[in-house]
Symmetry: C2
Subunit: 648 residues, 2 copies
Amino acid sequence: MNIEEKNGSTVISKTSDYEPGKNWRNYLIGRPLQTADAPQQTIGKFLGLAVFSSDALSSVAYAPQELLLILSIAGTQALHLALPLAIGICVLLAILILSYEQTIHAYPDGGGAYIVARDNLGELPAETAAAALLTDYVLTVAVSISSGVAQLISAFPGLYEYRVIIAVALVLVVMLINLRGVKESGIAFAIPTYYFLAMMLITILVGFIRFFTGSLGLVPNAPMDIIGMRQTLEPITLFLILKAFSNGTTAVTGVEAISNGITAFKEPRSKNAGETLIIMGFILGSMMIAITFLANKIGALPSDEETLISQLARTIFSGTGILYIGAIVATTVILIMAANTAFADFPRLSAIAANDGFLPRQLTYRGSRLVFSRGIVSLAAIACFLVIIFQASVSRLIPLYAIGVFLSFTLSQAGMAHRWWKSGHLKPGQVIKEPGSDVIYDSGWHYKMVINGFGSICTFVVMVVFAITKFGDGAWIVVILTPSLVAIFSLIHSHYKRLAGQLSLENVNPLPRVAHQKVIMPISGVHKGTLAALRYAKTLSEDITVVHISSDPSENQKIQEKWQIWGDGYRLVMLDSPYRLFIEPLLTYIQEIDAKKQPNEIITIVVPQFVPKHWYVNMLHTHTADTLRRVLLFRKDIVITEVPYQVD
Amino acid sequence: MNIEEKNGSTVISKTSDYEPGKNWRNYLIGRPLQTADAPQQTIGKFLGLAVFSSDALSSVAYAPQELLLILSIAGTQALHLALPLAIGICVLLAILILSYEQTIHAYPDGGGAYIVARDNLGELPAETAAAALLTDYVLTVAVSISSGVAQLISAFPGLYEYRVIIAVALVLVVMLINLRGVKESGIAFAIPTYYFLAMMLITILVGFIRFFTGSLGLVPNAPMDIIGMRQTLEPITLFLILKAFSNGTTAVTGVEAISNGITAFKEPRSKNAGETLIIMGFILGSMMIAITFLANKIGALPSDEETLISQLARTIFSGTGILYIGAIVATTVILIMAANTAFADFPRLSAIAANDGFLPRQLTYRGSRLVFSRGIVSLAAIACFLVIIFQASVSRLIPLYAIGVFLSFTLSQAGMAHRWWKSGHLKPGQVIKEPGSDVIYDSGWHYKMVINGFGSICTFVVMVVFAITKFGDGAWIVVILTPSLVAIFSLIHSHYKRLAGQLSLENVNPLPRVAHQKVIMPISGVHKGTLAALRYAKTLSEDITVVHISSDPSENQKIQEKWQIWGDGYRLVMLDSPYRLFIEPLLTYIQEIDAKKQPNEIITIVVPQFVPKHWYVNMLHTHTADTLRRVLLFRKDIVITEVPYQVD
């Protein structure tokens, strides 16, 4: 305990004696953690790649497949376009990697799209980035889990009809794990990620060996449900190619993850994070091209029944043996890890945005396990909703996915470009203070501005292409949703700002002392509870008016007589209520008194309140006090005091 | 306004200035009525029969049918037992009429089973009567409406699949009418009742004429769904006959209605009511026998597709012409009227029982239209529930129906028998005061006691027979439900009695004056709302402790500094909350202070409370005050005061 006296005020600081007890939640999510328990561990590049790349790397499980799906509409002869498109996507990836590399060095404390947009572009772009990212995280969960379930179904077709329930169950499991709190720096992340990379490496290597030795055949018993059922083929138009390209760009989702998590890296953290980003980009690009190439060679076709990865593994490993199962399990697990990443990012971003006043403040509250529990639960609820609505179908979810991602890329890089421009107009040594990271002069600002600016333009174009080509397939939902979210965030922000202004103590004169207190005490009868309330009322004022609302005149006489014995001479008003109402006549009476109030006079309503021992007994009583409070709270200078009277 | 001073107390009596405004409910149920608006009109025998007999008379729509239904299980040759059974039921009816005739004269202010049991048999029988009657009223609604819908379906078979929804809609319409309030003395009741009687008279007369002239054939195209589908016939056992008899006794339900409503009759009201009862009994008995006889003659068989009344009318009127439709409509309307009777009785009985402390007191409250709205809505809700569960099938509802009726008959008549016994042991001129009706010496007490006693035994036997024969068909529900209800009523009663004892001012010493007030004021920050609350707290005491629960130590410094400027020198306690909780550390702190409390010291918790203009803004704020109040109400001598601070 620390006692400090200053300017006549005593301030006592101490730690609360409260200790959390045991309850059912402890079994589910673990014992409460103190704020001081927050982990401070940092990680190197090897673990960093595992922790932050599952979202990006797992994209290869669905991006090539969705790309091929669109091309297949134009028939098998269109499939040769897949490889050039995959290479185009890798170029886009390279631009993004270059661009984010610069962000990582400029924001050593973490430079997600929201922070960069907020610091460099202003309020509206920040709100837009928040809307885009939050949508994106929700879809990452829905798409990754659905794709994971699709992999499982490929290996165990009998599970097909349970896909939605399996997907929802997986979302809830990941939610629970996150409510317990995951240490992002754990070795637990490294095993599945490197296992996935190993399995992909083996699959691709064996695939190429068999291809070059000529022993790689076509997919045996290829699923026929897509192509087989199509009656007429569409022509190969530019629109179709762009649509296929759009689907493929979902491969680059998750690239920004490292820029959010720079603080988790060992020093020099920007350097380590940047190098990890480049390694990740290289792996992702190679896998994208290799998988597209091999899928083409074996004649794999996208299907609802069997994923591309499954067809690939089945063909390369000549059957569904141990290596096949290994590849499927690895893919499923990495996809669940990707969902897990969103469970770390969504609550963290909500908390940052809430702290900035764009979202309800409650989202900044960290639960008993030091995680932003409310954000985690919200994310799980919305993701489950999407999974159910879209029946866990990756193809139906994809049109909603990448717009948010590319919108956040665009804003982030535009923010960076603007930051370089500001940086270029500083003198060496001059500093612009910013919450995220201070701007200092950078001699290479021209060059860097061009890179980020070009990246921004590229991602903007991709976003527009995506929105147009996928509009009818579901992208319209996001096109409507994003501005709506931005509008809501703006309203919330202006509410908090207005409130802060109204509560601010700047230019405020001290309030005049209360000159007089008037007490009004509604009673239903004269009994012990009434007397306890009267005893309290006497400590407030001598100006006490007791009011009885009477619906039943036959009881009036009894109440008056009792009051004359027990009322200590205080005034009793018997209000006849011809409509047998209670609250309304009382309110009318209080308003009449209120209207005659003097300046600096306060009216206190003292309500005698029964408190039964058991809550269910409340059903046997009316709850006047509750109703009264709800209505009177809105009046100025009326205070409601409940004097509880406990009965057994 | 009336001001009265007595023993130093001023008592002001006046009528509230509150006037009800217009709202949506006015359109649905009409403008609010003053208590003084209650109708005082009385009616003669002609209208009295119409108002109080719909429940009893409408029973002929289902009782003969359900009787035949059981007999038909033993094949067509068992159907000749129907007429003797119907005659037996009429004997039972005669006994009941004689018995109730005596009740009506003994209780000129209304002598329902509950009042008679309460005044003459005691608490437990009164609770049992209440349970039986309330169950009975609910089933009257469910059975009558379901039977009404069955009549409609007979005429319009296309409606069969909508029967449940039609029944629920009808219940809700009757509910709405009753929420508006029905004048029981209205001519509106006479038209449908006498229309029904006229249609029945025509049907039966034409039926007999055609029977005696030999032109009454069999039912053309008789529905075959019951007999036709039966594979094996059951033998005619005593059990089967008793079961059929039990089903038929549902004809006497509703006989007690007049004894509840005696006050509605013109003087001499007991005489008028008694004569009305006898007329009703005569009509009911004749219809029961006539319908059973004719149904037998035309070979009518009970069916799910077509009611007995419909088969009868269709055969007698040779087709589905205007007379047929007229008979069906009359039957449907009288059944709906019967349900309406229950809507008058259930809420009235609930209110009486609630006033006696057996049911929640809220049921005594009369709504804006002077009706017991809560009872009306409860009845509709439970009846709809039954209709849905039993799919509006009369045959499936019947096993639940008559037990409650006969239980209340038994208790009522046993109560009367006991009353006559008491009466016989009085000296002429001696009086036993009772709430329902005073007991005076009656010279014919022996004779009257035997009549009521015999009636009681008869109805008891019927009840037991009913319960045994229909046990497996659903009567078990009532056998379990009735004692459960009695137990609940007992618990409620003992709660109210205990509460009254605890609140009673007998043998109470005046409370000592409050010696000291301690104020604890939890704050989340130092702002205008805090200062408004502090200003109020200063009117209570100088012993004020302001508590800030701190989850974020970075804000502590700012709050302390602000407090040193604005806190007027009052003590500030900064409570560190390592688990980031708010309520729990605050409660622990309050408990620590509470434990050190002096005698006659009161702790007031002053809670600064934001009040936003719009309720939905509340989503953006935490509701500490609500949680705090919920937890602290249970502690003695802790008072919670909310000081609202309105923000725009």
